[in-house]
Amino acid sequence: MTGGSKPKKTIVPKKNPMPSQDPFLRAKNFNEVALGYTEQAVVAEANRCLQCKNAPCRQGCPVEVDIPAFIGLAAERDFAGAIKKLKEKNALPAVCGRVCPQESQCEKYCTLGKKNEPVAIGRIERYCADWELANGVLPQQVNPPTGKSVAVVGSGPAGLTCAADLAKLGHEVTVFEALHVPGGVLMYGIPEFRLPKKVVQAEINNLKNLGVNIEVNAVVGKFAVVDELLNGGGFDAVFIGTGAGLPYFMNIPGENACGVYSANEFLTRTNLMKAYRFPDADTPIRVGDKVAVLGGGNVAMDAARTALRLGAKESWIVYRRSKNELPARHEEVEHAEEEGVKFAFLTSPTRIIYNSDYWVIAMECLQYKLGEPDASGRRSPVPIPGSEFVMDVDTVVVAIGQGPNPLVPRTTKGLECNKKGNIVADLATGATSKPGVFAGGDVVTGAATVILAMGAGRTAAKAIHAYLNGDS
């Protein structure tokens, strides 16, 4: 070969398949579903990448991971180099490789994906991160102490990323977390079988090694309000990443009956409190024979799949629109179907029926049809009059969305919020209406994704750094 041009790659049309647990078996256990690539498979997959000069894939990644660079290193089996490259942009690669909606982000823009299947960017990312967790984490560089300190409220992906970046810049960082473990939704919401909790804790240990101090059992707004952290608390700035943890209910009759859970409660009992191990773990959960999960997003899929693992004979997704409109990730819907989750589309409950002991026995539902597209661009569901029917169920999980927890907004003077209760923050800096207070993640955007929350944490860290240096 002359002229420096590389040999033209042969295109491999399909992704290397992800080995996964047999659907039949896995529907009964909480072990991780996707088992991860072998070294051979990851190298083969990395070699599918065309190393495009303009790297269109990068524009799909909210934190702009240098995708061709890390994949190139993985192709050469330089996993230490690959993870270093990843971590330049992404503080939690083992998490993102597993839960990013890659099909609508990085992989959506992959050149290969135009005619064939895109490069499995997330799977390669996961491999590199797991490689690091197994082979010992490389120390990261931390700047000398600046003498400034920052309080981070909430330890979800937004707070953790913000904390990591500020710590690397030499600031002293304390994260305050309301629950007894850090991680936010990664710990209490996303199930073990999709994101093992030891992976999350390993990523969090990396942060601790950067010198980040994490205080659990610390509810800001209760043991101290934001103003106290700033004045007298010894902090020079505050980042709020308290997420969207307030569960919405349908406001239909019977919703407070026994056997009706919010998805948050259902998943928290199972993931955070390990109710699937009851009575070895102390927190109980009750799942009947036939479970109905209301909603069609990732949270609903997680709840429906969890219900099967907890012993439900039937687990139903009850969704107002049709399969095409399901907001959940495609892969999650597929996994749910494989495991035996059933779907009642174009259906929504109007009333929950309970017996004299207040236990759920059935749900009255209405049939819907699809009408004109609404503001979200999806065809809106229109109820069909007179189509009421009764669905026998004994457990109902409401997974129709979450809003921001009002604790911090309510107790912070001068913090502007919008009508939905989200904190108003400049998306380019995370700055709020209150000087020295920044915010990002679900508490600003409403329920979104892990990687967007991380991106917001990173953006805010830059702005906080500038603020502390007095250049803003």
Binding site: A178, L179, H180, Y188, V216, N217, A218, V219, K222, F223, A224, G245, L246, P247, F249, N251, E255, N256, C258, G259, Y261, S262, N264, E265, T268, R269, M273, K274, F278, P279, D280, A281, D282, T283, P284, R286, D357, Y358, N405, P406, L407
Partner: protein, 287 residues
């Protein structure tokens, strides 16, 4: 980790713990609660703040051994540690000078009503305290309550101490006598709070109750603690735990309180089997 600095047996199966938690003590107010977890497998259970010492950095909780977690808690002693302890949670009691108020504590409810009575008296109210227990040996904090109230009335269900009767009997007498009472605060077992509310409703006397619905996080995240108050759904952990008792749907509360009864029975049976009957009650114990 949070150290138990003092333990006192107030009555059989009724323990007082003083727990070192300076950040909670700094902010604690009457009416609020904490959530604790004994160890890594433990359940998060809420307990009301019965007293606090800001200078000493401690919180006092009084709890009844009713199931696995509270039995396991009761088996701990001074110097032992709790893994998790978070608070102060919930809204504090609304304290102002109403003039004349009645504070009713039934059973273990005497503990949470104490700091409220004290705060109301400090705010200038005339506070009539009413406390009661099933029997004499279950009655506690009589002197402490007397010091927090302008006047204290005591009863036992079985008449083994002072007089025979329910707290509601004393409450009716006090309302009739006092005429000018403008608020009643009642804390105790669900049936007692319910009975107090139906009595005070007769007199149109506004009544505050503290609801102990089942909780998980205590921060408004799970909705487990939801109760119907005045036809609206409220989260007891963040909107309460105190509510206008005349608006509470007690029937629904009572049903929701026993959601996990089969699991609770299994857990406690297993615990007793593994640990022997080491509770502090006077039942004789042993396997």
């Amino acid at each position: 980790m949070y150290r138990i600095v003092k333990k006192e047996l107030l009555a059989p199966t009724l323990n007082l713990f003083e727990i070192e938690a300076p950040l909670v003590a700094r902010k604690a107010l009457a009416g609020q609660f904490v959530i604790l977890r004994i160890n890594g497998e433990g359940e998060r259970i809420p307990l009301t703040i019965a007293d606090f010492d800001r200078a000493g950095g401690t919180i006092t909780c009084v709890f009844q051994e009713v199931g696995k977690t509270t039995k396991e808690l009761g088996a701990l002693g001074e110097g032992d540690f709790l893994q998790d302890f978070v608070g102060p949670l919930g809204l504090p009691s609304h304290v102002e000078n109403y003039g004349s108020v009645i504070c009713v504590g039934g059973g273990v409810g005497v503990a949470p009503v104490f700091p409220i009575a004290r705060a109301l008296k400090e705010a200038g109210n005339e506070v009539v305290g009413i406390i009661g227990a099933r029997t004499k040996e279950l009655l506690f904090w009589e002197e402490k309550m007397r010091s927090a109230c302008s006047e204290l009335r005591v009863t036992t269900d079985d008449g083994s101490y002072v007089r025979k009767g329910f707290v509601t009997d004393l409450l009716r007498e006090a309302i009739e006598e006092k005429k000018n009472t403008s608020l009643c605060v009642a804390i105790g077992p669900l049936p007692m709070m319910r009975a107090v509310c139906s009595l005070t409703r007769e007199y149109g006397l506004k009544t505050i109750v503290s609801l102990n619905s089942i909780m998980v996080d205590g921060t408004g995240m799970c909705g487990c603690c939801r109760v119907t108050v005045g036809g609206e759904t409220k989260f007891a952990c963040v909107d309460g735990p105190e509510f206008d008792g005349h608006l509470v749907d007690f029937e629904e509360m009572a049903r929701r309180a026993v959601i996990y009864k089969p699991q609770e029975q299994l857990a406690v049976a297993r615990y007793v089997e593994n640990h022997g009957h080491n509770c502090s009650c006077s039942c004789g114990g042993g396997r």
